[in-house]
Subunit: 583 residues, 2 copies
């Protein structure tokens, strides 16, 4: 039997007004519904209802981890500085790492992630290829000193994560676990009712090369991503850019007087052509200080990570450096560049045979500049930030754009930590090798907020069945009434007996207050019991998600719910569970 909660005993201080400092739906609604409270900037307490949701999400994560053979452990939050010195991250990680010293002046940090700790944990104890692969995980509090904590649970300084680490003898074995994890992460999102995309991403500070982010789509998300109906999706920072440049008619190289034109916008306007028909130049220097000029479609931005990948050490020039190289800011082009300048161009520009581009002379531009005839590109590369409308790299169709919340991420770490920290195993022949490692994170508290972002309306939250703090809220309209109150109590325990989590709003409050709170908190189904309906043997059920209402016989309601649950359309989050009642 599931529990029956009582609103009269529940600590869930709901708020009528939106809190002043909450910008996004999840933050506002979780505060208003009495699920979380702010303790300090970026530091939150989970109140009983919020904690129930958090636990349900944790359990979903736990079940999916256990299914793929990952083993749960618990590492400490306090991590000795020495381990981070070993990996080199003590200095690299920056001010987001919260640091402290103990009473004996030993340095510690509060773990934002646990690569160092787990590597030190298994080294010297996990020794043989026979024990591999091995995947360990924990669900635990993490710390990151965000410079400007905001967006409620999305950018907080103390948060709950599931982090897993895997150890392998071969790349194939890593790939297998990586694929298992990726599938598990998809299932976790599905079970939590999230509309998500697995996207190509960048490794960032963790240091992985192959990595996928799981993005819950939501306007409040901080990440920009592109995706395609074919299934392709990528973070705009990381995805391949296949821009669609447009051709301008001129095919002859012709220098045009463009007085006062300095920017792409001005150039396009001056010529009356789209920005995508122009070519933008960006001057920089390589690691040795030599001049490199990069060319990208006029309507696209250079991606610095890609630029660095194409030209290691690449740095944009300052105005002074440009002058010293003899460059003309605002009219750079591939024709007539200083001797020795290396030209790197975005691959998409191959699609334009004749460029509209600067003439390396103030107030002049070229049209019809042809690669091979008028200038030579030294190297073609993927250089731009991808954007909606670009070609899908998988199928060529135009990409859509969305904002996304990164709820989880999988990384192939390789030997980044095992090598620096000397964690090795013996292969069949007794030869020592560093472990090949993977790491895998789920933002558990962040997932809770992402669910709210996707499941709410103007009245409050609409929890998917699987993660709802309770499934059914029973609202007796007259508490203490001789008939209504006992009927409500009896129904509550009947429904609970069928395995539902039930809450009964037994507070001595007006009906309007109870309805408003039920909508705000977001119980999937409300069952209203009033004197009049009861006289006819009826109760009213309301589906929170659609607002649909229906009168149902009190004697059959519990059985009906059980039936509905058993025959629900099999949405993995239980979304459709109660829909059948209204059909």
């Amino acid at each position: 039997m599931s529990e029956v909660m009582r609103m009269s005993k529940l600590y869930a201080p709901t708020l009528k007004e939106d809190p002043a400092d909450a910008e996004i739906a999840s933050h506002k609604l979780m505060l208003r519904a009495g699920m979380i409270r702010k303790t300090a900037s970026g530091v939150y307490t989970f109140l009983p209802l919020g904690y129930k949701v958090l636990s349900k999400v944790e359990n979903i994560v736990r079940e999916e981890m256990d299914k793929i053979g990952a083993q749960e452990i618990m590492m400490p939050a306090l991590q000795p500085a020495e381990l981070w010195h070993e990996s080199g991250r003590w200095d690299d990680y920056g001010p987001e790492l919260m640091r402290l010293v103990d009473r004996h002046d030993h340095g510690f940090c509060l773990g934002p992630t646990h690569e160092e700790l787990i590597t030190s944990l298994i080294r010297n104890e996990l020794r043989s290829y026979k024990e591999l692969p091995c995947t360990l995980y924990q669900i635990q509090v993490k710390f990151r000193d965000e410079i400007r904590p905001r967006l409620g649970l999305f950018r907080s300084r103390e948060f709950i994560m599931k982090d897993a680490y895997s150890f392998h003898a071969t790349q194939e074995s890593l790939q297998e676990t990586y694929d298992d994890m990726s599938r598990a992460y998809g299932t976790i999102c599905d079970r939590c009712g999230l509309d998500y995309r697995p996207v190509e991403a960048d490794g960032g500070q963790i240091g992985g090369k192959v990595t996928t982010e799981f993005m819950a789509l939501a306007p409040a998300g901080e990440a920009e991503l592109v995706h395609c109906t074919c299934g392709y999706a990528a973070n705009t920072e990381a995805g391949e850019c296949l821009a669609r440049p447009t051709e301008y008619e001129a095919t002859e190289l012709k220098k045009i007087h463009t007085p006062g034109v300095r920017t792409i916008e001005e150039l396009a306007e001056f010529l009356g052509i789209p920005e995508s028909s122009t070519v933008k130049a960006l001057s920089g220097k390589d690691a040795e200080g030599k001049l490199v000029v990069m060319f990208v479609p006029g309507d696209h931005e250079l991606n610095e990570i890609k630029a660095e990948r194409a030209v290691p050490g690449f740095e944009l020039l300052t105005d002074e450096e440009m002058e010293s190289f003899g460059l003309h800011k605002g009219s750079m082009g591939p024709v007539g560049l200083p001797e020795g300048a290396r030209i790197v161009a975005a691959r998409s520009l191959k699609g334009i045979s004749h460029w509209v581009v600067g003439a390396n002379e103030d107030d002049y531009h070229y049209v019809g500049a042809e690669e091979g005839r008028d200038f030579t590109v030294d190297e073609w590369a993927d250089l731009c930030v991808v954007k909606p409308g670009d070609c899908c790299p998988d199928c060529g169709l135009p990409l859509s754009g969305s904002r996304g919340i990164e709820v989880s991420q999988v990384f192939q770490l390789g030997t980044r930590y095992s090598e620096t920290m000397g964690a090795t195993f013996h292969d069949e022949d007794g030869v020592e090798h560093p472990f090949i490692m993977g790491c895998y994170g789920v933002g558990v508290s962040r997932t809770v907020a992402a669910i709210v972002e996707q499941h709410n309306d103007e009245n409050g939250i609409q929890w998917p069945f699987n993660v709802a703090p309770a499934h059914v809220c029973i609202i007796p309209l007259t508490v203490g009434d001789d008939e209504v109150q006992p009927a409500a109590e009896k129904l509550a325990s009947e429904i609970a007996d069928f395995g539902f989590d039930v809450v009964i709003d037994d507070r001595k409050e007006r009906a309007g207050v109870k309805f408003a709170d039920a909508d705000l908190i977001g119980w999937p189904l409300q069952v209203v019991i009033g004197k009049r309906g009861l006289a006819e043997g009826n109760v009213e059920v309301k589906l929170r998600r659609t607002g649909q209402k229906k009168d149902v016989s009190l004697s059959t309601i519990a059985e009906l719910l059980r039936f509905a649950k058993r025959n629900a359309r099999k949405h993995p989050s239980g979304l459709g569970t109660f829909a059948g009642i209204f059909e």
Copy 2:
């Protein structure tokens, strides 16, 4: 169906030798059984088996909290310094409080306890007497910078606690919750298989007045306690001392030359009497600097907390101060003290009509000093550290002594925090009052270690059923064998289907290694499947706790276990579950 674990996949690095720096059984055995590993001094990682036990204990705690209507929440580990300044504990708590500053130079501490945080959480939101009582709890990581972390999980710097806080309008309501909590704590100990005593204790830094500690009896415990067959128990620091002084025959006041005698030991030896027939004097001063001399039975120690309670501000004199008061160290007594000296005597001394005591003159003592005739006691008080053999304050029988591990504690806080931090509610008449508060802690990781202290032998751990990482370990003697291996697998899933947690030792290891590991890890029941037995349709079962072995038919073993479980003697920890098989 419960899970079937596989030793071949399990990360449980067992050790053959005792680790060098582990002093006590729980620390040694949990390291050796591959359940915990040290990350830093006083900072531990729970490996998969240790984590399973920890989770089972957590769930027992959670169930008992939910049963008495406490609501689970999760507060942050990071606590703003301001809150601790409000309560006054930022300065009082000392170096055990781990402190840090964030990147904006705001002070934080890592919570060792959460009175400040919860008080600030509910103030301004819990407002009406109608919402009271309200009890909130969390199971969470805590931090305390022990000066010398030791004894494994007993004195660690990062540990898991359940802490609960209750808010009340009246003392009666607090008492009710306090009693509920005390009963729940007893049940938790019972369900974890702990032999424990609820003992009178001292509030310490939390600041409670009425408080009880739950002590698991174990020689490794740091606390000393006394207890009686009548049920009475107390921490020796806190319990009432009813010493049994013995009378010496002299009834006439007589000054005796005692050359060189300075200590009680020397005095007793000189006179050939027990120390309990002598009276010890301790000189000090009160808050105003006036001389106070305390008298206690010669075989007992002064308890400083009690001394302070009898004489606020009481401080023992230094040798210099004694001289300036004209006192003679080593021969102080009530007869002939300096003018104005206040005499405070242990109540137990009322039982001695004539004292053997110092004569306020070097090398001289009195025998036969009679209160009322030769001197006057200004005040009788409870002054001593109680010790085994003293009279039980409840029934008078001699107390037994034990060492104990404090696994949990309940406190009546009163208005200590609500008053300093301004947390108030409105009563029926709209009048504001500070909340009356209680707080209640269970050392969850400490409980795990306490269980091991009480349940082990020279071969390893003997987990009680309820908290065992798995209930049954199936040991196929020949892994990969055509008959043995499938029979083991089949049995494992049969037993698991009956709701047992099962592990199968499918490693390609010698039988001896498997037996040793099974004993070390401490699964309650081992089922050994070998080729020879199997030919006769038999397996061997071994009860870890007693070492009893028995051959049982393979076809009936699973059913037998189910039967045994159903008919087990109802020890709340499930201790007797498998015993029936061997009867």
